[in-house]
């Protein structure tokens, strides 16, 4: 470990370690790029790929992100962008959960879908993409449908969960599982030109309030569809929330829901705690 650290320190320019030297350290000392990234960050240095994260994310923040684990439930429209952005941000471990294969109707918006990927599992495409863009990030591909039964097993160990599902019933199961496990949940949903984002902390019932107990399993997206830009906007807002939660900085959307209308270009903030249950 001393030898690898010496090699890294000698190759650093200032506190930046170039990717080629990170790879060379991995090769010379038979380590994974992820392990080398950990050594770089734990010793006050910064992989050069993150130099434009600076000011927004400090060196110690970048280290915090590397040692974090985020579960993304759903790898479709929202999930593809979320995984892409988490990997580029430098979140060390991403758990990608989705049972489905890419179909042709995914091509208009799902980031990892390509004609060549049709018929391939979404989590496998996510794994290949993350390996392409940031091999120091570990993606754990779970080709399975999230449910109340497997929720604890899938989520345990994650610092934050991200709701990128397309079924309202499963979203509620995810919210319940996160509450039981003490994991904050960043929720996003889309339909047509519209979307919303909120963060539910353990013990809150934000998703229950949004969807209610006896709602149908789909919303107006069944008639409005989902164009390319709405998932990109909502997913980016979700990743900004995840970043703040992992760093313990900023003001999260706790107890508030951001309602996004890209048709009127309006964003509304809805207070979620002002309920009127007695007379409701």
């Amino acid at each position: 470990m001393v030898a690898v650290l010496d090699f890294i320190r000698e190759s650093a320019v200032g506190d930046l370690v170039a990717w080629q030297h990170q790879l060379e350290a991995a090769r010379r000392f038979s380590l994974s790029p992820a392990l080398v990234e950990g050594i770089i960050l734990d010793n006050g240095l910064l992989p050069a790929r993150y130099q434009r994260n600076r000011q927004t994310i400090s060196q110690s923040g970048q280290r915090e992100l590397f040692h974090s684990r985020v579960a993304v439930i759903g790898c479709g429209g929202l999930g593809g962008y979320i995984i892409e952005e988490l990997a580029r941000l430098g979140v060390g471990t991403i758990v990608a959960i989705d049972p489905d294969l890419f179909e042709e109707h995914n091509l208009n918006r799902q980031l990892f879908s390509t004609p060549a990927n049709l018929g391939k599992y979404k989590v496998e495409a996510a794994l290949r993409r993350v390996l392409d863009i940031n091999p120091a990030v570990t993606l754990i591909a779970r080709q399975t449908a999230f449910s109340a039964e497997n929720g604890a097993e899938l989520l345990t160990g994650s610092n934050v969960a991200v709701d990128a599902l397309d079924s309202i019933g499963v979203r509620i199961e995810l919210a319940d599982a996160c509450s039981a496990l003490g994991i904050p949940l960043v929720h996003g949903a889309i339909a047509g030109w519209f979307g919303h984002v909120t963060t539910q902390f353990p013990g809150d019932d934000t998703l229950q309030r949004i969807y209610g107990p006896e709602k149908s399993c789909k919303g107006v997206e069944t008639s409005l569809g989902n164009p390319s830009f709405t998932p990109a906007v909502v997913a980016s807002l979700q990743v900004a929330e995840v970043c703040k939660l992992l760093l313990g900085q900023g003001t999260p959307l706790c107890g508030r829901q951001l309602a996004i209308d890209l048709f009127s270009m309006e964003i509304s903030v809805i207070e979620m705690n002002d309920s009127d249950r007695e007379t409701g």
Binding site: L78, A189, A191, E221, A259
Partner: protein
């Protein structure tokens, strides 16, 4: 009874953004949604004067009712 209704997202299509109208006493949130031909299955967040309410809630003079559609896509 004067009630102001604010519609959001797809609920505005073919309807309005904001409109103040006369409703008979005893009108509920569900009655307003029905009058506007908003399917109950598509109703998401419902608020009166910025407080969350349920479908059965009875409106009062001067209330502002805000209705958001249910979004579930990912």
């Amino acid at each position: 009874m004067r009630v102001t209704v604010k519609l959001f997202a797809s609920f505005r299509t073919g309807r309005f953004e904001i409109e103040t109208g006369d409703y008979p006493p005893g009108t509920t949130v569900a009655d307003v949604a029905d009058a506007l031909k908003l399917p109950l299955s598509e109703l998401g967040i419902m608020m009166i004067n910025s407080r969350h309410v349920k479908l059965e809630r009875v409106l009062a003079e001067g209330d502002t009712l805000a209705l958001f559609p249910l979004l579930g896509g990912g």
